[in-house]
């Protein structure tokens, strides 16, 4: 294993460790307010200071990693599986099946997803529990995010369909369904893995963007995205540039870790030829 992948694995382990043991590591609760120390700077008591409601930023950072680490990969996995199924079937069987599936893909691509998200959130009852609402949001993201990946997967599946080894499998009397599951999907694995790793940071950042509109993780639950909102006001950032480096650093770190795994995957794929 190369040094870069070692570092990436170490960083990922650190983030996973922090999020799993947030209960023990965090000095305070994520929603615990300290009225005596509002917008305080870093100190022994608050390692990263407090936000404008007097909550410990460090504790919120630890708890916030759970959203990024669990929901984003879950949504990415879901959308990648959908992409594999739709793109794989379309590329494999071609003809009318491909036309219908690709029309569906284009339809999903043309949906104004932001309006859809706002509409869904508007339909949900106001007293909907924050964890439930955020799960629904990510599920929706997963449902909408598969379309671009499906096109990539379809292109790869078409290559497999016309390949000599697909003909070989047919010559041996292997059925089309078995050909799809046993011969096509393993060959799409690198493409699917790449699509998964690409969508993880996209979903993390989308969550941050949604947080800006109040569609992300609802208060008081912390997430890296909602914590980044503290940086949305240029005035405060200019006043105190290193005020809240936590979520920015961790988001960048996680995205870098994921990209590093992407590179590792590609170099391994190249090695295998």
């Amino acid at each position: 294993m190369k040094l870069s992948s070692k570092i990436a694995a170490g960083a990922l382990l650190l983030i996973v460790f922090a999020s799993v043991f947030a209960n023990f590591l965090a000095p305070h609760g994520y929603d615990e307010q300290f009225r005596d120390a509002i917008s305080a700077g870093p100190s022994h008591r608050f390692p990263l200071g407090t936000d404008d409601l007097g909550r410990d930023r460090f504790s919120r950072l630890l708890y916030g990693s759970r959203v990024s680490l669990v929901l984003a990969p879950a949504a990415a996995l879901f959308s990648t599986l959908l992409a594999g199924l739709v793109g794989g079937l379309a590329g494999m069987f071609g003809g009318r099946c491909e036309k219908v599936l690709m029309m569906g893909t284009d339809l999903v691509l043309s949906l104004p997803w932001l309006f859809l998200l706002i509409a869904v959130r508007a339909v949900l009852p106001l007293d909907c529990a924050p964890p439930l609402s955020v799960t629904i949001t990510f599920l929706l993201l997963g449902c909408l995010g598969w379309a671009p990946a499906a096109r990539v997967v379809r292109a790869a599946a078409r290559d497999v369909r016309s390949s000599a080894f697909a003909l070989q499998a047919r010559v041996c009397g292997i059925s089309e369904t078995r050909l799809f599951w046993r011969h096509l999907l393993p060959n799409l694995r690198p493409v699917l893995a790449a699509q998964f790793l690409i969508s993880v940071p996209v979903f993390i950042i989308t969550e941050a963007n949604l947080g800006l509109l109040g569609l992300g993780v609802a208060e008081p639950l912390p997430s890296w995205g909602s914590m980044l909102r503290e940086l949305e006001n240029l005035g405060t950032v200019l006043q105190d540039p290193i005020r809240n480096p936590g979520p920015l650093c961790t988001v960048v770190m996680l995205v870098l870790v994921v990209s590093c795994f992407q590179l590792l995957l590609r170099s391994r794929a190249e090695e295998l030829g």
Binding site: G94, S163, R170, C172, S175, R182, P186
Partner: protein, 289 residues
């Protein structure tokens, strides 16, 4: 004489290229090795894929009939045809490295081939190993763990042959199985086909562009040119008395270099004999090149 194992009369058109096969008539007896010779684009592979009913999408449905053991393959349902593919009629493709799935171990691919026709999935291993022995593949059980990229071209071709004969088919179609191999490996593989057809009493349709290299293997030859069967008959008869000008041209296209390794002395003598009957003396290659 009993009815032939395979009796086909076939016309195939591609949408952008009509007349790929024009009323080709071919018979193969049980256990007989028939060589189908023709240049590139003469329709050899189309004929092979038509028998398997695996022509690509741009081809119109083949017209005519393919009688295999009393059934017309062209009239079978898709599922019935699938049951025949690989079990009764098997095929060896021409590019061994490409024809193996790069993502799967050899063992997985053998198991898949076995499971395509057998419910009892547990017996694939012993059958695969026995078949490896039959095609003289080294390593035995260790080979099952390997990936295609870890094999040489010759080994990959033997694995493909093993996959094709796993179910001991009655007819084996070999579509230029030696075209990707070097001369020595190709000679070994040809010898292997000869042994297999004898030991398994398996009929073979051996497709090639190289008349001389397969002649020693085949009981009968059929010469295909631009979608038409110009000549067919027992191998010796075709060499002694080719009736069609194209066949004569093929026979005299044998390497003339004095250092060229004779594939079979008998056949060289035969081709010398036929050359004498031609008025035009073929151009001899210079001794020093």
């Amino acid at each position: 004489m009993s009815a032939p194992l395979l009796d086909l009369r076939l016309t195939v058109d591609y949408t952008n290229k009509p007349g790929v096969l024009r009323d080709v008539h071919l018979e193969i007896q049980r256990g007989e090795v028939v060589g189908l010779i023709g240049e590139s684009g003469s329709g050899k592979s189309t004929l092979a894929l038509s028998i398997m009913r695996l022509l690509p999408g741009q081809a119109a449905a083949p017209r005519g009939q393919i009688q295999f053991d009393g059934r017309d393959l062209l009239r079978l349902k898709g599922s019935q045809m699938r049951a025949i593919r690989g079990r009764e009629i098997a095929m060896v493709l021409q590019s061994p490295i490409l024809a193996l799935n790069p993502a799967l171990r050899i063992g997985t691919q053998m198991a898949e081939t076995w499971r395509a026709h057998e419910k009892d999935a547990s017996r694939w291993r012993e059958r695969a190993l026995a078949t490896f022995e039959l095609v003289a593949l080294p390593w035995g059980a260790e080979l099952l763990e390997r990936f295609p990229r870890q094999l040489s071209v010759g080994q990959a071709q033997r694995v493909l042959i093993a996959m094709a004969i796993l179910h001991r088919p009655r007819l084996l179609i070999a579509d230029e199985p030696t075209s990707a191999l070097d001369a020595i490996t190709s000679a070994e593989v040809l010898a292997l086909f000869k042994t297999l057809s004898r030991e398994l009493n398996m009929a073979m349709l051996f497709i090639s562009h190289d008349l001389l290299s397969v002649a020693a293997l085949c009981d009968r030859l059929a010469i295909l040119r631009r979608g038409e069967l110009v000549e067919s008959g027992p191998t010796a008869e075709i060499f002694q008395n080719p009736t069609h000008g194209y066949t004569r041209a093929l026979i005299s296209a044998v390497p003339q270099h004095p250092m060229a390794a004779p594939v079979s002395n008998d056949l060289m003598a035969l081709s010398e004999f036929t050359r004498g009957q031609n008025e035009a003396e073929p151009v001899k290659a210079p001794a020093h090149v």
